[in-house]
């Protein structure tokens, strides 16, 4: 079993962080975790302090990418061999973490996927997911059924890149770039996700549209001009 850490970015998650962390501690007590409080304006930090949860407290809001990277830097500094991106809002279920940990021993990136066996429901959001899936297939020749899943595990080689690189946000375009330019071996592990228990989603129509535009440009265009990354595929 690799030395593993869950990275849990939290922005204004005072209502859900406690139940999320308690279920993590109950289900997988052997796995370390670190919360990254992304300059929350509510009492997220207060909840963490009161319960004695380990958390990195960002004094200003950096956004998901910056918060996640902070966790990656921490993972690198403490020589973790596997880092797992995990949501604070209760969408991700800790029951599935061991499956990711097992799969990461033979892969560079493991994605907790909702659609390995199940079909995608028809919705606007899934249309976006399909478009990204298509873009990744065009640029890498591989199929990732659930590219927008936020539950991803990375091995030590990927942690090195994600911790210090610029433009390595925890998004599908990074996965695609790592597959193409770092020869990253990616696999999907079937997971279920629950609906968010509290808080609000980032996904307003405008945000979704700009997100899709950014992903498309990044996957289909920009990554052809980005540098090759060395290292052996897992």
């Amino acid at each position: 079993m690799l030395k593993t850490i869950l990275i849990i970015p939290a922005y204004n998650e005072q209502d859900s962080i406690e139940s999320t962390i308690e279920s993590v501690k109950r289900t997988i007590p052997e796995v370390d975790f670190i919360i990254v409080n992304d300059g929350s304006s509510d009492s997220t930090a207060e909840v963490c302090r009161r319960n004695g949860y380990p958390f990195l407290d960002l004094p200003v809001n950096l956004g998901l990418a910056g918060a996640f990277q902070t966790g990656m830097k921490y993972a690198f500094r403490h020589s973790y061999e596997c880092a797992i991106q995990f949501d604070a809002d209760g969408q991700h279920l800790p029951e599935y973490v061991p499956a990711l940990m097992e799969a990461i021993e033979h892969n560079d990136i493991v994605i907790g996927s909702r659609f390995v066996n199940a079909h995608k429901p028809r919705s606007l959001r899934m249309l976006g997911s399909n478009l990204i899936e298509g873009a990744i297939r065009v640029s890498t020749g591989k199929t990732i059924k659930d590219p927008t899943s936020g539950m991803r595990a990375f091995n030590a080689r990927m942690i090195n890149q994600l911790a210090f690189g610029l433009n390595f946000g925890p998004e599908p375009d990074t996965v695609s770039y790592l597959m193409k330019r770092a020869g990253a071996k990616v696999c999907e592990v079937p997971v279920r996700m629950s609906d968010r228990t509290a808080g609000e989603s980032y996904l307003s129509p405008w945000n979704s549209a700009t997100y899709m535009l950014r992903m498309t440009i990044s996957i289909l265009f920009v990554q052809y001009f980005r540098k090759q990354i060395g290292g052996e595929a897992a």
């Binding site: 990195l56 950096l62 500094r77 020589s79 210090f164």
Partner: protein, 127 residues
């Protein structure tokens, strides 16, 4: 180029000069950043005092009205500056992000009394 336009250009040039100088006097802007604006002011002055230069250039490029060439020229100059600013802003954002992340990590490590196992960065040139 009409005399009125030339007067406007001279006025803008002098205003730019005065404004930038005052910012430096009051220590509101770095000297490095003012260089562009001084050059810009001098350029405006040149256009208004020696419009002939732009008549020749407009003829070379094939723009029938020299005034249009003057506009085009300054749009390009400003575009370059906006591009530079965009790059600088990106770099500033990155620096703030790095500082914030480092601060949070150091503070936590001090709090739990557990120093980093490694403080090195990977030797990969891309990082």
């Amino acid at each position: 180029m009409t005399p009125v336009l030339r007067i406007v250009l001279v006025a803008v040039s002098i205003l730019t000069f005065a404004f930038m100088t005052r910012k430096i006097r009051n220590a509101k802007v770095r000297l490095e950043d003012s260089v562009f604006w001084y050059c810009f002011a001098v350029l405006l002055l040149l256009v208004s005092v020696f419009p002939g230069v732009f008549f020749v250039l407009a003829g070379l490029v094939g723009v029938s009205s020299p005034v249009n060439f003057v506009f085009l020229f300054f749009i390009f100059v400003l575009l370059v500056q906006v591009f530079n600013l965009s790059v600088r802003l990106s770099q500033s954002d990155t620096k703030i992000k790095e500082l914030t992340q480092h601060l949070a990590i150091e503070r936590f490590e001090r709090h739990v009394g557990d120093g980093a196992v490694t403080d090195e960065r990977p030797t990969d040139p891309h990082c």
